[in-house]
């Protein structure tokens, strides 16, 4: 990363929204293109942050704060670069913990990791009904539906989402489903017909990349 990005990189690491935004605007004033700021500074910085969290050298609050800085910069740049939006966002993901299940820590970590890796994530929260998940995925024009379930009695609701998508041609051509959480494992995910499974938040990011690249 070149010297011009030092301050911005630091602001993202520190979770300093104000400096983050003012530094990136300063860079634009100096003639750097927003898209370059993303690829040359923001993305590599976030990759480092994700890495540090996966080794627990930093914790969730720090990671959330960094993601907040980037979201604010994205908002600031929006009018400047409508055309480039697609390139900045790696893809749109709708994430939820399924019906009856209140466990959200894993989901939140997965969400934060996806965000720092450049995905646009719409978090529906916990205990979300199948209908709501599908509707929100349509409304958000999501590429991926990510589902978390932590208890065995929640597993049928994960399967429901997959079955509902399977049963609808339009939905099948639009959405990929990735799943994870305690009782979910690779074997169960395959059997249920999920497109991807992640053991932890680190794998979740790899799976999301794979699904975005895969043809629908």
């Amino acid at each position: 990363m070149t010297d011009q990005y030092v301050n911005l990189g630091e602001a993202i690491k520190k979770g300093d929204v104000e400096t983050g935004v003012s530094e990136s605007l300063l860079l634009v004033e100096r003639g750097v293109k927003p898209i370059e700021i993303f690829s040359e500074c923001i993305e590599p910085t976030l990759a480092v942050i994700g890495d540090q969290f996966s080794r627990l050298e930093i914790f969730l609050p720090e990671m959330i704060n960094s993601a907040e800085v980037v979201k604010a910069i994205q908002n600031e740049f929006k009018p400047l670069m409508e055309a480039d939006q697609e390139t900045i966002s790696k893809g749109k993901i709708v994430i939820a913990t399924v019906s009856g299940d209140l466990h959200d820590i894993g989901k939140n970590i997965v969400k934060a990791m996806l965000e720092v890796n450049g995905f646009e994530v719409n978090d529906l929260g916990v205990d979300v009904e199948t209908k709501t998940i599908l509707k929100s995925a349509r409304d958000a024009d999501a590429d991926i539906i990510a589902l978390s379930a932590l208890m065995i009695p929640s597993l049928p609701f994960v399967k429901d989402v997959i079955d509902f998508i399977e049963a609808n041609e339009e939905a099948r051509s639009r959405f990929k489903v990735m799943v994870g959480g305690g009782p979910v494992n690779r074997e169960w995910a395959d059997e249920a017909g999920a497109d991807g499974y992640g053991d932890d938040a680190i794998e979740a990011v790899d799976v999301a990349y794979r699904l975005i690249d895969a043809p629908a």
């Binding site: 969730l60 609050p61 939140n108 009695p153």
Partner: protein, 458 residues
């Protein structure tokens, strides 16, 4: 003390308290609130040491926790409001918290008491895999493998993987059936083992309020049993949880809830975790009128609490609680190792010894293979834990620290390797419900080895 006037007060606070956005609560009230008190009360931990030796630090953690809780409160997701208690209210309510309780019935009843740091009395053991799932056919034998152990004082059933061969679904008739089935099978296992009055914690398989409460009453969970529910990490609740509590009050059940802060999550690192665990235990009594308060703080990637990052704040927090309150506290051993591995046995040594000298009234578990692998648990680990509780109660913190470090060295490298071991059916003879020779041999070897470290099993 628990009563309906207080319940009404809590419900009203949840309806009238300050309105807050949940994300604001997470980020500002919890994460920033913890960061503030960690700084203000100068909470700094020596990370080479697992068992806390610093009494003044423990007292500062207590002060920080009360300050933090008085400013954060507990968030009610159903109303979008904060249930707040002032510092004075918190202190007043803690004065009336029970310091002992009889659990179970008849000759199977046991007395749970408040224990101090380095208290020479043995902690109680809830011998159980704490809600880990198992296939229906192994449900009763696996449970008998625990309740037949003399070292086991109370138990908690495993959860059913299916009900009469069908998948269980939350908030459906299947959940209510599974709730009744859990109670029925658990009572049957205890009868068969000749300990019908032993208390069990319930109900684990059912998750919603309607599921849990359906089998809480005649023919199901008794008022001499432990009535559990988890609050939502970090420091959150909803009407489903308060519904459970309200019913338990009218049932005159023993209120036995828990809160499981996640290491590295909203609560951050070890210092803030120590404060958060302490605050959560206080909240369980102040807001949820708990008779006994418990925790199983969890590692975000290994899903256990036997790593240093979690044992260090647990030891410190439990000493803060034991030195500054008379709460009946408990921790769950959530281990990575499963039956048929030495890993699980060493994890039991480290955790049990750490907990025993740090105060705490009851230990739960061990929840083997992180509680997430169907059927990977057995009664022998619980027997070992019970024996360790007795041996550890003769130690001071310095002696304990040496043993904890030795045990830790033995399993440290396994923590992220998922040493989940074997299924119950492969480590126990299903006819006699006794451990296989191979599993018993491992247990004997480890027990002999740790006896040489200064744990006296006589």
């Amino acid at each position: 003390m628990k009563h309906t006037t207080r319940m009404m007060d809590i419900v009203q606070r949840s309806l009238d308290g300050p309105i807050k956005d949940e994300e604001d609560f997470n980020n500002k009230s919890i994460s920033q609130g913890l960061a503030r008190v960690v700084k203000e009360y100068d909470i700094q931990i020596n990370k080479d040491q697992i068992v806390n030796m610093d009494d003044e630090l423990a007292d500062r953690v207590w002060e920080a926790a009360v300050d933090f809780l008085a400013s954060s409160g507990v968030y009610c997701q159903s109303t979008g409001r904060v249930i707040l208690h002032s510092r004075e209210e918190i202190e007043e309510k803690l004065k009336h918290a029970p310091d002992n309780v009889w659990i179970g019935a008849g000759t199977d009843a046991v007395h749970e008491v408040y224990r101090k740091v380095e208290d020479p009395r043995r902690m109680l053991l809830m011998g159980s895999a704490i809600g880990t799932a198992i296939e229906e056919e192994y449900y009763i034998p696996s449970l008998i493998s625990y309740v037949q152990e003399p070292e086991v004082d109370v138990t908690m059933a495993p959860t059913l993987e299916k009900i009469y061969g069908y998948d269980i679904r939350t908030r459906s008739p299947l959940e209510i059936m599974s709730s009744w089935r859990e109670a029925e099978l658990t009572l049957e296992a205890m009868r068969r083992a000749g300990r019908p009055g032993m208390a069990f914690t319930g109900l684990g398989t059912s998750i919603s309020d309607v599921g849990q409460l359906s089998a809480d009453g005649p023919g199901g969970l008794r008022n001499t049993d432990l009535h559990t529910f988890g609050i939502i990490s970090e420091l959150k609740t909803n009407f489903e949880i308060l519904n459970k509590l309200t019913h338990i009050l009218y049932r005159d059940g023993i209120v036995d809830p828990y809160a499981n802060p996640i290491y590295g999550g909203l609560g951050g690192g070890m210092e803030s975790q120590a404060v958060l665990i302490t605050a959560a235990m206080i909240a369980l009594n102040v807001v949820f009128m708990a008779t006994c308060v418990g925790s199983s703080p969890t590692h975000p990637f290994n899903f256990n609490d036997t790593g240093k990052e979690v044992m260090i704040p647990s030891s410190l927090s439990f000493q803060a609680l034991a030195r500054n309150s008379h709460l009946l506290t408990n921790l769950t051993i959530t281990a990575v190792g499963g039956p048929g591995t030495k890993t699980i046995l060493y994890e039991c040594v480290a955790f049990t010894v750490m907990n025993t000298v740090s105060g705490g009234s009851r230990i739960l578990g061990p929840r083997t293979a992180t509680g997430t692998v169907t059927g990977h648990f057995s009664g022998l680990e619980a027997r070992f834990t019970g024996e360790l509780l007795r041996a550890a109660s003769k130690l001071n913190r310095g002696q304990a620290e040496e043993i904890v470090q030795k045990a830790y060295e033995k399993y440290e490298d396994d923590l992220n390797k998922q040493p989940y071991g074997k299924h119950f059916k492969d480590v126990y003879d299903l006819k006699t419900i006794q451990p296989t020779d191979e599993w018993l041999k491992m247990y004997d070897e480890v027990k002999n080895e740790v006896a040489g470290w200064g744990l006296s099993f006589d």
